[in-house]
Symmetry: C2
Amino acid sequence: MKLLLKNAGILAWADDGFRHIPEGYLGIDGDIIDYVGAERPAAPYDAEKDLRGKLLIPGLINCHCHAAMTLLRGVGSDLPLDRWLFEAMFPVEDRMKTDDFIAGNELAILEMLASGVTSFSDMYMEPQTLIELNEQVGMKVNLTRVVQAFDPTEPPERNFRIPESLALFDQFHGAQNGRVRVDFGVHAEYTINDAVTRYYADRIRPYRDRGARVQLHLSETKKEHEECIARHGMTPAAWFEAMGVFDLPAAAAHCVWCTPEDRAILKAHGVSPIHNPTSNLKLGSGFAPVPEMLEQGLNVALGTDGAASNNNLNMFEEMHLAAIAHNGRRLDAVLMPPAAVLRMATVNGARLQGRDDTGCLAVGMKADVVAVDMDRPHLYPAFEALPMLVYAAQASDVAMTMVDGRILYENGEYLTIDREKALYDAKKAVERLYGGK
Amino acid sequence: MKLLLKNAGILAWADDGFRHIPEGYLGIDGDIIDYVGAERPAAPYDAEKDLRGKLLIPGLINCHCHAAMTLLRGVGSDLPLDRWLFEAMFPVEDRMKTDDFIAGNELAILEMLASGVTSFSDMYMEPQTLIELNEQVGMKVNLTRVVQAFDPTEPPERNFRIPESLALFDQFHGAQNGRVRVDFGVHAEYTINDAVTRYYADRIRPYRDRGARVQLHLSETKKEHEECIARHGMTPAAWFEAMGVFDLPAAAAHCVWCTPEDRAILKAHGVSPIHNPTSNLKLGSGFAPVPEMLEQGLNVALGTDGAASNNNLNMFEEMHLAAIAHNGRRLDAVLMPPAAVLRMATVNGARLQGRDDTGCLAVGMKADVVAVDMDRPHLYPAFEALPMLVYAAQASDVAMTMVDGRILYENGEYLTIDREKALYDAKKAVERLYGGK
């Protein structure tokens, strides 16, 4: 099946940068983009889809998410960070069972598809529920069974999470035509110990050649960063390096308190930082040194974090914030170019996820395409499409979300997930978790 | 005509705070709210409107706007602040004529009505065009003909803007059943001189008893703040005080660089600061000391600034930013309570505008009501309505905007302005201003 998207604006990719085609054609053969250009392609297509007034952009990649935490949206939002985590989050998470994870994932997927996310990296419990759900949904997801260790006397061989993590990789990495990728995961320096981390790093190192990668949280808060120094005599980045975790390509969420030396460590090991501006600001964690990381040549990507600390999964908000917050902090109106921000949300995200075949609109890439409706009063005039997308467009302007050439969402309708069932499941889960509220 | 809004959540106002009614009734008699409560009112109503799943909030008040700058949206967004102003903004503004101001205002009104704004304060050229347009539209607007002085040798009596400013007040203040209020205006310290400012302050002082107020820009950038000190030996706030401008209640946009002493001056004179977080961050101006101003007891309100530096007129974005940016700057997750932010966008805005009869949902107030559709995946679960509104709701969730009991916008439809004509006018204006682009 060959499909031609026509008459749309296109943010194509050429010569390592975005190129705006004001009105053009994007051809798809199966799940692959086989044409991008201003002129109608010579080859015939089986079907054509008129997208006049829309702007085609690469699918957005949410690189740090705890999807099922949608069920904890807004819980304890009046508490300081520590109390929020221990008094509001953990007790609910403790009660969560398989059906709750399913429901939370469904709700997250409704939100992400409607806001142009085609791929996301997830770090949460019972990742199998997400794999199973995604069989039907058809998004791309990098997921992980994170390793933690709460009992310092427990020998590493007894940590049941490690074999689970390895088994998850063996069973599911590359599943669903490559849409599912399994990452290894260490939750954070403060929820594990040296022995378990070294042991785990040794176990996962051989998987490097099979394309394995790691997810972790890094220097999110000042407290975490400083307590690590007190505990280990080194920063979290230096500690992860010493433990051998960075022997695999890693994705490090937050990096708010990473020093220039930390950033050099990340650079040396090909670690991609993930910027989560809403969560970092809302929780009072601070401003990640994003312009500084980009200047150092790091592959910075973007994420929403969980809905509990955001309070949504809206990559347009993250792009907007990433584009303006650092200008304000550094008193420089042109510090964060919109193109760099869109790159973080697409190209860099794909690289972080280990997906070489997505992240931009070019011939030979997978057809992960989002159509943004630019024909709206708040987007007029739009002399330049890319700044308008980053500074003014809203998640609600997304008209279509396509993954691997298959339309998953269009004009308010979900084609691969039942909206009403998902909302019903979420309601039932909320009743279970919060007692009928 | 008595209208009963029923089955909606309501953020009512009681005992100097918001009170959430999960499902209730809001009665309107003409343009006045005559009932708010969880129980059905005993009195009969002529008509009922079922708003199940919606949350009723006070109309949002955008306290700093240059409405017609929608026509300059995104222009020169890759330039640093000074060059942006002199190379991108001024040359276009120089070409703007009456029809362009009309078109720019129409476009702004489309955007503001759709995002829940019922009242706004505007500072731009040819304010009469806005008054005339609003006759049909029916919003509330505080507008001003600002005074500037570019030739230091020109005697104050020759400044033609001063009599125009006074005449505008005499002719239109209180027009359209009070929906139009005329403010006096000084653009900023750096676009006027001592003699003209003193002269103008003397002229407007007698208007104080007629409810007159002042709009101005204050300490938006570090450069502006420091150059004022170099020029006058005092900060902009101290200078405005010395000139007598603060003898009237004033609304001071930005206040990014206001010192604690400046803030004491504002407090002493009842000056209301206006926080414009998107514009301040995007343009690299910095972070206004909002929590500090609130701690000092100042009446801080919210605004979007013009679309040229934003790039839209979305008060939901401003609320969201105001709620999280300062937490990040001060490393405190509970620094800016959502209730304080909503108050800035409603109650404080009404007070700033000199509108005692709007800004909250309570019996006896004008029926300026916005219905937000909370029945959306990205807003579920919503254990507490107010934090969800501030942290997660989007402008696109606005289902209805009502001013003085009259519905101006509902479910994508404009009832008092022709959307297609407005977009056509904007297109024609863009062609005139930018030569067919």
